[in-house]
């Protein structure tokens, strides 16, 4: 057994400045979200009530990133918004990934009729722009964070089905799968014990990157008013609300926007780094 610190993949990761930047950004955001109650200077500002004596205050020592139109500390609200965003991303991926992976494994392993049917099904989902599909699903319900989450989950699984399908098709030809077939291993055994472990690196990499993209889509929906509703702190609605006070109260828009950029880019860089590390190992 080798220690992880000795594996060439980890070594490549450690020497990759962009991957490390990603790791740093992700750590920053995750810590902020986990310890929001400890870090946030004005925890009560996560709710509907702010400090009416300090409305639309410029960034200062007291209010690091300024306050919004009803005097709530922007820094506090961004930290709590991170918490909501990460929760959403984790729930979405925790549901969408298994569904997509199972569909992809089946489509990739079973005969051409199955793969045609299942892949056309994913085509249906993929031909509707993600945002539009998520929006319309929310539209049939009531706009809220939960419904947004459901809608994003519904549009996210086909991507994992596609990825797993392609990986499975390649793995299917490998000797170890043929060997398992010859000894009469059961279908679940072949799919989940033989093929799936070899697809995991690619799936995990995609999940890492997707945490960022789920947050991006969720914020896009709430920007349009179809996501989390007031007074829940949400990055997208903060940008939308702030845009009304441009350019005078620029901080209302610019800081939440930067907050989105930081988290999405962090997961993106981290995922890219993981992919490159996985490539080195092969």
């Amino acid at each position: 057994m080798t220690f992880i610190s000795e594996s060439p993949g980890w070594r490549a990761f450690r020497r990759n400045p962009t991957a490390l930047t990603g790791l740093a950004l992700v750590t920053l955001v995750v810590c902020a979200a986990l310890f929001a109650d400890l870090i946030a200077p004005y925890p009560s500002h996560a709710g509907p009530v702010g400090d009416f004596t300090a409305m639309s205050a410029q960034p200062s020592g007291q209010y690091l990133l300024g306050t919004d139109t009803i005097g709530r500390d922007l820094f506090t609200r961004i930290i709590y918004a991170y918490r909501l965003s990460l929760e959403m991303a984790i729930v979405v991926l925790a549901i969408a990934t298994p569904i997509g992976v199972v569909v992809g494994l089946l489509a990739g392993y079973l005969g051409p009729a199955w793969s045609y049917a299942l892949m056309r099904l994913t085509d249906v989902f993929l031909s509707i722009p993600p945002l539009v599909l998520a929006m319309s699903i929310t539209g049939f319900l009531e706009p809220s964070a939960i419904h947004g989450m459901m809608a994003i989950t519904a549009m996210w699984w086909p991507w994992y089905a596609r990825l797993t399908y392609n990986l499975t098709r390649a793995e299917k030809q490998e000797g170890y799968v043929l060997a398992a077939e010859t000894v009469g291993a059961s279908l679940p055994h072949i799919l989940f014990r033989e093929i799936l472990p070899n697809c995991m690196p690619a799936i995990l990499t995609k999940m890492t990157i997707d945490v960022g993209f789920v947050i991006l889509i969720a914020s896009s929906m709430s920007f349009l008013g179809l996501g989390a509703q007031a007074p829940t702190p949400d990055l997208g609605s903060m940008v939308a609300d702030g845009a009304k006070y441009m350019p005078d109260s620029w901080w209302l828009t610019v800081f939440p926007a930067l907050a989105i950029l930081i988290v999405v880019m962090g997961f993106n860089l981290l995922g890219d780094g993981l992919r490159e590390a996985a490539d080195v190992r092969r």
Partner: protein
């Protein structure tokens, strides 16, 4: 039959299957969701008799397959139903708003290929040097920033602060609009020979299109770079080098064409994001496209309008992808001669 034609027909049929799937999916979502569509449409003040009448008129009192069949029959006649929000046929609403959205999306698509691909090619050619690093960081920032954030930032800097471009809208209000013939202001202005309107429309188009294109530019540049770097490792590039083909000719021709195939294929899928993000950008720049309509009908639970809008957008996506497929076949002779995807 030429393989190219075969590919085309193949893709057309597949697209129709997908489109049928989209209509079914949307129809199902719309009908299985809790709440009575007729009641929602008429509002809480309507009498039970009125609601019943609407239910009957819209076949809502029949089983879902029958409802779907009725919907498809109407669809075959080009009828997308009526919007409860605007009290007009959905078809009319979409015809009014769609051209503005397509104009925006098309321009953004053009920007994304014309900027993203050259950046990726240069990045790959000078890989490892500082220009490459800057290009990669810029690309990843492009990809990681939502379109509405780009919209807000570009608006803040170029419209509010520097006043280089108008803040919002599609044409200056005081300017007489060119007679509407196609709905595409640029084309209408050109057809009318109205130079001022054309320039004004372009001036309004720059910021929204750029905001919409930013993520695509980053994505295209990244893809192109990755594909080019991979192609550079191919034996035929070593051969081109061994025979002393000029470096620029290798980058722009012998590595470029094979590298373009995967890029184009993925770009086709990315068009979906472009069509979706148009909603965000239109909202930032007050662009009179499908966005406001889409958000309004969603908030009003205007079922026919939602399904119609989604269908139209999916159609636009599929049509664009067939175009991309033909382009791929043009670039990749293997597909042209084998017919079908390799």
């Amino acid at each position: 039959m030429s393989p190219l034609l075969k590919t085309l027909i193949h893709r057309l049929i597949a697209s129709l299957v997908v489109l049928a799937g989209v209509s079914m999916l949307m129809f199902l979502i719309a009908r299985v969701i809790p709440g009575d569509p007729a009641r929602i449409a008429l509002g809480p003040n309507a009498t039970e008799a009125q609601v019943q009448a609407l239910r009957h008129e819209r076949h809502l009192d029949e089983p879902i397959p029958v409802q779907y069949w009725e919907y498809i029959r109407e669809l075959a006649h080009g009828n997308l139903g009526n919007s409860l929000y605007s009290n007009r046929p959905v078809r009319v609403d979409i015809a009014q708003y769609l051209p503005a959205t397509l104009e925006l999306v098309f321009t953004a698509g053009l920007m994304m290929t014309l900027i993203g691909i050259p950046v990726g090619v240069l990045s790959a050619r000078y890989r490892g040097r500082w220009g490459d690093h800057i290009g990669r960081i810029a690309s990843i920032m492009g990809v990681s920033t939502p379109a509405f954030v780009w919209g807000v930032i570009l608006q803040l800097v170029f419209a509010y602060l520097w006043r280089l471009f108008p803040i919002e809208g599609r044409l200056t209000a005081t300017l007489p609009a060119p007679p509407s013939m196609t709905g595409f202001v640029l084309i209408d202005a050109a057809l009318a020979g109205d130079g001022r309107a054309l320039v004004d429309a372009l001036h309004h188009l720059v910021l929204p299109a750029l905001a919409l294109a930013m993520a695509g530019i980053g994505q295209t540049a990244r893809l192109t770079r990755a594909s080019m770097v991979e192609t550079y490792r191919k034996p035929f590039i070593e051969m081109a080098n061994a025979y002393g083909f000029p470096e620029s000719r290798i980058a722009n021709r012998y590595a470029f064409r094979p590298a373009l195939v995967p890029v184009l294929t993925i770009l086709g899928l990315d068009l979906a994001a472009l069509l979706g993000n148009a909603f965000l950008v239109e909202s930032v720049f007050g662009w009179p496209g499908l966005s406001r309509y889409g958000v309004e009908v969603i908030l009003h639970k205007d079922l026919d309008a939602i399904v119609g809008t989604v269908l139209i957008i999916a159609t636009a996506f599929l049509v664009a992808n067939i175009a991309v497929d033909l382009l791929v076949a043009l670039v990749n002779p293997r597909i042209r001669f084998a017919g079908g995807r390799s």
